[in-house]
Point group: C2
Chain length 145, copies 2
DNA sequence: CACAATTGATTTCCTTACCAACGAACAAGT
DNA sequence: ACTTGTTCGTTGGTAAGGAAATCAATTGTG
C-alpha cells in the first residue's frame, strides 16, 4: 500500500499499472499450466466461447470476447493450423464466417476447462470470500460500461 | 454476474479472462489519453519509474516493473529514439546500464502524471470507496506474492 | 592464476493486441 | 438498376510481452 500514496512518483500508484501487473502475473500462471495442452490463454478463451455456442458467427465471437476482429483473425489462423477450430461459410451471408470446434478440440476442451477451474480455485483460496466477491464485482462493473 | 456460475462454458467465468478484459479496456482508456503526448502506457510506467529514481540500473528498472529484460530493451529502444530516456554505462560494472530521463522528458513528465491521476480519479468515481479499496487491496496482494 | 558458473543486456522468435486501409458483399435510397 | 453507404473479414503496421539463445563481463572455486 506504500506506493499508492498520491505524492509518490511510482508507477504502482496508477490503476492501469496495477491491473497490468496483476494481469500479466495471472496470465503467466495460466500460460504455464495450459502449455501442457499446447494452447495459450487466449486460445483457451476462444475455445470456451465456441464450446458455449458452436457455429457462432466470427463477428459475434469477436464481440463476445471484446476483441478486435484482426486479433481474432490471427488467433483463428493459428488455431486452425493446430486443428482446433474450423471456419465455414455462412449460408446466409457470404461476407460472414461461422466458427466451429473440431472433434479434437471437443475431446480436449472439458479437461482443459476443468484444469482452468482448478487454477481459479487456487487463486481464490488466497483471499477471503467477501474480499474476492467484491473484487469480482468491481471487475464485472468495469467490463459492463 | 450471470456468466460467473460454475457450470457455464463461457470464458467470462475465469479470473484470468475477466482480468484481461478489464485490463485491456483500462489500457485503451489510458492509451487514448496519453497519445496526445506521443507515448504509450508502458512508456509512461517507465518514465514514472525513472522519474522516481533517475539513473537506476536497467536490471533494477526491469525488476521494479516486473518486466522481462527483453521487453524493457525494446521499450527503451523506442524511448531513446523519441529522446525520452538515455542509457549510460555503469562505471561500476561494464555489463550494467544506467537509465536517465532526458531534459525533454523531465519537462513533460509531471504534466503527464497529472493527467494520469485524473484518469484514475475518473475511474475511482464509478465505485464506492470501500468497494474500490478492497479491489486495490486484492490487486496489491496479487502482485506481492 | 585459470577455469567454471553466473549475471546483464541484447537479439531473435512467437503470440497477442490494436489501428487503419482494403476489397468483397450486402443494404438502402432514389 | 444504380449509386451510396455500411458491414464483414483480412492484411499490414506497430507495440508489448515473454522464452530461449547468445555474448561480454563479473564472480566463484579450485
Amino acid at each position: 500500500m506504500v506506493a499508492s500514496n498520491d505524492n509518490s512518483r511510482s508507477p504502482s500508484k496508477y490503476i492501469c499499472y496495477k491491473l497490468s501487473r496483476v494481469m500479466r502475473k495471472v496470465h503467466r500462471y495460466y500460460e504455464s499450466n495450459l502449455s501442457q495442452y499446447g494452447i495459450t490463454p487466449s486460445q483457451f478463451y476462444v475455445l470456451s466461447a465456441v464450446w458455449e455456442r458452436d457455429g457462432l458467427k466470427f463477428k459475434d465471437l469477436a464481440k463476445s470476447l471484446d476483441m478486435d476482429g484482426s486479433t481474432l483473425t490471427s488467433i483463428l489462423d493459428r488455431m486452425e493450423r493446430l486443428d482446433l477450430v474450423e471456419r465455414r461459410n455462412d449460408p446466409e451471408d457470404r461476407r460472414s464466417l461461422l466458427v466451429f470446434l473440431t472433434e479434437k478440440a471437443k475431446q480436449k476442451i472439458s479437461e482443459i476447462a476443468h484444469l482452468a477451474e482448478g487454477l481459479d480455485q487456487e487463486i481464490k483460496e488466497r483471499f477471503s470470500d467477501e474480499e474476492f466477491a467484491t473484487f469480482e464485482k468491481v471487475l464485472e462493473k468495469f467490463s459492463q460500461e
